[in-house]
Amino acid sequence: MKVTIKSWTGVATWRWIANDDNCGICRMPFDSCCPDCKLPGDDCPLVWGACSHCFHIHCIVKWLHSQPQQQCPMCRQDWKFNNK
């Protein structure tokens, strides 16, 4: 062997896999946080519904609290958290 690899330091970035660029509730891009937060990422995570729509968790929780029926604001199906 002419050259051996002793170790490797990898650098990667992560982003959300969302079916849209923006949150359908607050209209902010998923790469940034909801209007109530200061930092995107773990502090302001995304959640997916059974209907496959996705929102900032803070946005959908706020929305569900303000509504008599627990429906997805995009497709009006009953909202269920999808813990895939």
Binding site: T4, I5, K6, T9, T13, I17, K38
Partner: protein, 772 residues
Amino acid sequence: MSLKPRYVNFQETWAKLKETIADVVALQAIERSVWNSRFSDVYALCVAHPEPLANELYDETKKFLEEHVSGLLERVKGSSELESTDYNDGLLHRYVTAWREYSQGLTYLNSLYSYLNLQHVKRLKLSDADMIYGSAAVTSCVDQGPRHLEIGELGLMIWETVLIVPLAEAMTLRIVSALNSARDSNPDPTTADILRTAIQSTVEVQSYNVRKPMSLYQQLVVEPFLAAASAHHSRRAAELLNARDVSYFMKYVLDGLEREISLGNKFLHSSSSEAVWTCYEQACVAAHLPALHAEVERLLKEACEDSPNASERREDLKRMYALLKPLGQNALRPLIEAAHAQAAKEGLALLAAEHSKDDAHTHFVHSMLSLHNKYKKLFAEVFGGAQAFIGALDKACSEVVNSRAEGESTARAPELLSRYCDTLLRRKGSERDADDKLSAAIVVFKYIDDKDVFQKHYARALARRLIHQLSASMEQEEAMINRLKAACGYEFTNKLHRMFTDVAVSSDLNAKFQQYLRENNLATNTGFFIQVLQAGAWPLGGAMAPLAPPAQLEKPARLFESFYRASFSGRRLAWLHHLCTGELRTRYTQRLYHINATTPQCALLLMFENTDAVRAREARETLELPEEAWSRHVRPLVEAGLLIAKGDLEGNDEETELLLNLNFTCKRTKIRLTCAAAPANQGGNGPGGAGASSESTHCDDDRKMYLQAAVVRIMKQRKILRHTELIQEVVAQARGSFAPSVAMIKKCIEALIDKQYLERSPGNLDTYSYLA
């Protein structure tokens, strides 16, 4: 003796009384029994039956005192020439002797007349309330009928009208001339005492006069003295300025001021000290401001030079400040402006001084710090650290820091300061005094207008340090961010904090990954460490080049990907190959070398396993690198001497070959191959020009966003606002991170009008209203 009112023969009683009071005011000895019976006589007259005789007694006493004082007047006059200014001609002396005798006698007389004072005079006096709140009576206080003063007060009034008035001019002439000569040489104690008592008497004689207690003193002493003093000082000052330079003049004037103040303290009433001072300042300083101001620039310049005269000039400036300060802002302004100009001039000269290009950041920060320290110390020494001069220094520093060299469109300060911090925070640059230096750098930071540009540079350098683990210490990194936060607030540093969080989360993640490997009986074969960063929080540039990693590296990468997918749902990883690095060990060389290289560089070296020559074009295609990235990665290998290029590397030449340098040698056994950052997304280490300009357009967009948000925020709250007020508020809000141009704010307002956030108020185009 009976206290009952009874008939009293006035003439008889008054005759006895008059005899005694003549002795009293002349300070002759009086037997106790005589005193007691005269005391009773006063009582008897005041309560006499059928009519009290108090008024008669009062009037006769007044007549007596007037005659007595007339006699004293003649004694005081003596044979003196009244118009003389010779204060040693005996007149003042006789006046003071008579005054001491008379004023002392009056206090005895006043107590002899206690009953009259108490019963007949008090009733005529004004109540305090009348004095304070005013009434018709107040205006006629002094001339409210004939018997409103106690006998002692009456005696003082008579002294004033009968004796002082005729002598007023003569006394003034002597007092003023005595004060004038006391200025130059101290009078002997007796003369001094006479002078002081004479002046004091003009105050005391009016002590009963509640409305204008000092009017006689003012008129007789203060006004003539100040007029004479003013003429004297003006003449001296003018002579002096003609004959000597400003340094001498200021020294003399300050000494004179001290003398003048002590003259006033010694002889005049304490209420006059301010007037004495003002008179002096006006005559000696205010009247000669242009002459003083004309020297300000020269004095400052010389005080700042490295010359033997400098300390003398600093003394001059101290004096100048002492003289100008009491005259207020207008008198001080030229001094403040010159101080500002001097500091700014020296600052620009310091920056322009010759220095090596590689050291531009150190040169910049050290120049600014030495400027700041020097002038802070100087202004503290000569101007007592007065706020106006601190302000002038701040203004000068901010101008120098934000100055642009000719042909530059933006100031280089943000980039240079960030480079300076980067050097100190890196392991290699670690010095024992790095902490102090970083603290000091904040001084410069505060003067930077484009703090947002600084933040971008700083964030990128921090990202490099964190990713490549170049930081000298994490405590030092955090301390620096906390300093920036203290200076600029949380908003300014929250992205930087975010990077720290990612680094901490990553080390956690690595531990979990290793555990995952153990539990599943998996192995990476090579050492493996990974940093998973949140996209958007790191200034890393956008597009990632696709790369087929060498087989040795593909395995650990895939393992980690599957671990990550299982641990975090809804997240996608992207590799930043240009930031990934491998540790290699050479085995084909005589010595063993440790090489730190980027992933593409590792892959390239691994291609030589079974051969010593590789076609460049083939290698590039295998690595799937675009031309531009290819050249950035391969150049350092060639420059380090590990590979030898045969032919043109950049072109598409089919024949170009890369040869493994089998005779490679190097002094160091650890070799770190760098890779220049991509030019479009990252200025980084690239040449200043291109990087800087893409930086400024990048910042422009952020600024527009910031300004639009600020306008909306302000208008949402204020609803209707005039154009100029809106601009002011926006500028105030932005100040912490940059100094916006009015033109840019206007553009943002226009954009918001187009987007229908705002409209111009109908009929008043100068005013905006918010559209909900």
